[in-house]
């Protein structure tokens, strides 16, 4: 059977499964809608958290980034897993004990301030929208490549599926669907990796295969990669800080910012509200990182295998010898070849490089560059060398997304394995999108509408508002997916920077200090957010140099976080401590369950 038929089968079966789960887990009250009735077992919540966390970016882009960046790719691997240690030790159990619906809820109640609550709502909604747009786009791209439908049709199909199970089942539907999606995505990621690892090194376990010798060769894979990189003018694959853009301080700050940002992302935090007890919250953090680790330990191996395969199968080939996968991916613009006239493909990090990607260029712009390049080759005066143009545009080398999508084809794996990757990519994108949409819905419907605008709203009315907001959010996210605002890919760094510099310090101080009051906390948040926003906007959009010791936009959240902590702690002695009631809440969340006074009912609206 062809890849296309297999893909239709896998996508059809998994989508049917998601809808079936949605029907069985529909809910009738806000507790079910926002926190799944707090009845999710730790093990299942771990799976759901894994799927929630592993987005289209983790599944499709991360291995490609590591593949291109070598050692420096570790910032994503360490950053996006290390954050779970902070989450498990510092936040999750206490927030579960506190027992609210959302993150702004905690900020608003702990600091007794509506303005703090509104700041938190704005951050949560902004972070989630930035993120969800990328997911919807990911759905469209997978559909377009594997099912040969228009990108926009793909986005609409994805939207419809999410719309059904998110409005019907709220958090409960989303949780059980995510648990199913976890298995789809992890299978789709591991099966090709294991097959390739075995083929290349004779080791079935990718994490071990990566450090093994190549079959029939005797050199270590990584050693061979370093050799190839040196020959082609790329910086070493395994040597730290070989690329001057990723100097030690920058790697340090980026890793830290991603870790802290991960711990502060609202759609991950709310997952810990859905379990029964504090002890279950701790266990589900363990299961979550174990399940996430399965992908994150495999991704660097896939990255190294793909790097090796790609260079080996392309370097020095003539037009008629090019592999089939190159032909099919050339059509998507993720990889393209501008020959210098000798009909031998050359991929390097020097001026003689001939491999590029189309990036944001339109088909018309691209064919113009190609036309001028042809004329240049023919020696005509109106010709322009396309390679120099592409280099000037920063489009050297293939698109990083191609690595996961095309590696099974590069390695010549079975058609059904290639199709499985499509279903996995969709599962990763849809599961993350639904988690984010729920955060948007609960921030607006619970924190803004119920807690600030209309506290008298009845249970039924709140459920209707929650459903309406999530429905609207799906539609808006879909529109962004169809017409992606150009800035979206650039502001993902912003999502982490913002989460790191706003939520994390505010929640941490809220739990571990009885003394920090409203003014210092809000001032800290505003300084942290303000500095991070200023630096990222200046650096990414206004061409400002990375003036602070060369730290890039992705790493600046670490500095924003430090500023937030510093301001809040320095101001604390000059302002009054929080009220008696809040101090009792803080006392209470520190105690293990089942002892001490019962939860402070009047301030803990778990209704």
């Amino acid at each position: 059977m062809s890849v296309l038929v297999w893909t239709y089968i896998f996508v059809g079966v998994t989508f049917g499964l998601y809808l079936g789960i949605a029907w069985f887990s529909r809910v009738k009250d806000t507790r079910g809608f926002y926190v799944a009735g707090r009845g999710i077992p730790a093990f299942v919540n771990g799976m759901a958290t894994g799927a929630d966390w592993m987005s289209a970016a983790s599944f499709l882009s991360m291995a490609g980034l590591v593949s291109t960046m070598g050692y420096a790719g570790g910032v994503y691997l360490m950053g996006w897993t290390g954050g779970f240690v902070l989450l498990a030790l510092l936040l999750a159990p206490y927030l579960r004990k506190f027992g609210h619906f959302t993150v702004p809820d905690f900020i608003g109640d702990r600091y007794e301030s509506s303005s703090a609550r509104v700041v938190a709502v704005i951050c949560a909604v902004f972070v989630s929208f930035v993120y969800v747009t990328g997911q919807m786009r990911g759905v469209g791209v997978v559909f377009a490549r594997f099912l040969e439908v228009d990108i926009n049709v793909g986005v609409v199909i994805g939207m419809t599926i999410v719309f059904v199970y998110a409005t019907l089942g709220g958090m409960k539907g989303i949780t059980w669907t995510q648990a199913a999606q976890y298995w789809v995505l992890i299978t789709a990621f591991l099966v090709p990796a294991i097959a390739i690892s075995y083929r290349l090194t004779g080791q079935p376990l990718p994490s071990i295969g990566m450090g093994s010798t190549l079959t029939g060769d005797g050199t270590y894979l990584l050693e061979r990669l370093n050799q190839i990189h040196a020959d082609l003018g790329f910086s070493s694959y395994t040597e730290p800080f070989a690329n001057p853009a990723w100097h030690k301080l920058n790697v340090f700050c980026t890793t830290l910012a991603l870790m802290v940002g991960t711990a502060g992302l609202p759609h991950v935090i709310v997952r810990f509200y859905t379990v029964r007890t504090v002890s279950a919250a701790r266990w589900s953090a363990f299961w979550a990182l174990l399940f996430i680790g399965m992908l994150y330990l495999t991704a660097p191996a896939t990255a190294a295998f793909a790097r090796y395969y790609m260079i080996q199968s392309l370097q020095g080939q003539a037009t008629e010898d090019l592999p089939q996968w190159f032909r099919s991916w050339e059509r998507t613009g993720l990889i393209l070849w501008l020959d210098d006239g000798d009909d031998r493909l050359r991929y390097s990090n020097r001026e003689d490089n001939e491999i590029f990607r189309s990036g944001g260029l339109t088909a018309a712009q691209l064919s113009e560059i190609r036309g001028e390049h042809e004329r240049w080759l023919a020696g005509r005066p109106d010709g322009v060398e396309g390679r120099a143009v592409m280099r000037g545009l920063g489009l050297s080398g293939p698109d990083t997304d191609i690595i996961v999508l095309a590696t099974p084809e590069m390695a010549g794996l079975f058609n059904w394995i290639i199709a499985l990757v499509a279903a996995g990519g969709l599962a990763a994108a849809l599961s993350t999108a639904s988690g984010l949409l729920l955060v948007i819905s609960s921030s607006v419907a619970h924190d803004l509408y119920f807690r600030i605008i209309n506290p008298q709203a009845s249970e039924a009315k709140r459920l209707v508002v929650g459903r309406t907001v999530i429905g609207l959010a799906v539609v808006v996210a879909g529109i962004f997916g169809i017409y992606p605002p150009a800035f979206v890919s650039q502001v993902v760094a912003f999502a982490f920077g913002l989460a790191a510099s706003s939520f994390f310090p505010a929640i941490l101080l809220g739990i571990f200090s009885r003394r920090v009051g409203t003014v210092p906390a809000v001032a800290g948040m505003i300084v942290g957010i303000g500095f991070t926003t200023f630096y990222i906007i200046g650096n990414v959009f206004l061409g400002m140099p990375a003036w602070l010791f060369g730290i890039n936009a992705q790493g600046i959240g670490a500095v924003g976080m430090a500023l937030n902590f510093a301001v809040a702690i320095l101001l604390t002695p000059f302002f009054p401590p929080p009220s008696e009631a809040v101090q009792r809440i803080v006392e209470n969340i520190r105690e293990p369950e089942g002892v001490g006074p019962a939860a402070v009912i009047e301030t803990a609206p778990e209704h």
Partner: protein, 108 residues
């Protein structure tokens, strides 16, 4: 790294049973140790000392610093959360026992 805030030096309020204070201090100690390992494994071995570790030796085909950055740190993170979950749930249970004994003692 964000250092866990220092526990307040004041003795716990008189109304609080001392067991809560003991529980909280044990919790902070455990957290401090685990977070120190977290920082050493991830930001230390994976970033700050990665270049020295690469020089130092290798693990199979992996230079050591590179292995920490792409494999070792993640494995250690998973183990840290496992240790935390087991130790904290044990601490919770001990605290419950102490509280039960205390209330039996006071009712006698």
């Amino acid at each position: 790294m964000p250092s866990p805030p220092v526990p307040s030096k004041k003795p716990p309020p008189a109304t609080k049973p001392p067991a809560i204070g003991r529980y909280w201090r044990a919790n902070l100690r455990l957290m401090g140790i685990l977070l120190a390992v977290w920082a050493l494994a991830g930001l230390g071995a994976g970033v700050l000392f990665a270049d020295y570790l690469n020089e130092l030796g290798s693990l199979g085909g992996f230079p050591l610093g590179f292995w920490f950055a792409q494999q070792g740190s993640i494995i250690i993170f998973i183990l840290l959360i496992l240790i935390y979950a087991v130790a904290m749930n044990r601490l919770d249970a001990r605290h419950h026992r102490e509280m039960a004994e205390q209330s039996r003692g006071s009712s006698r």
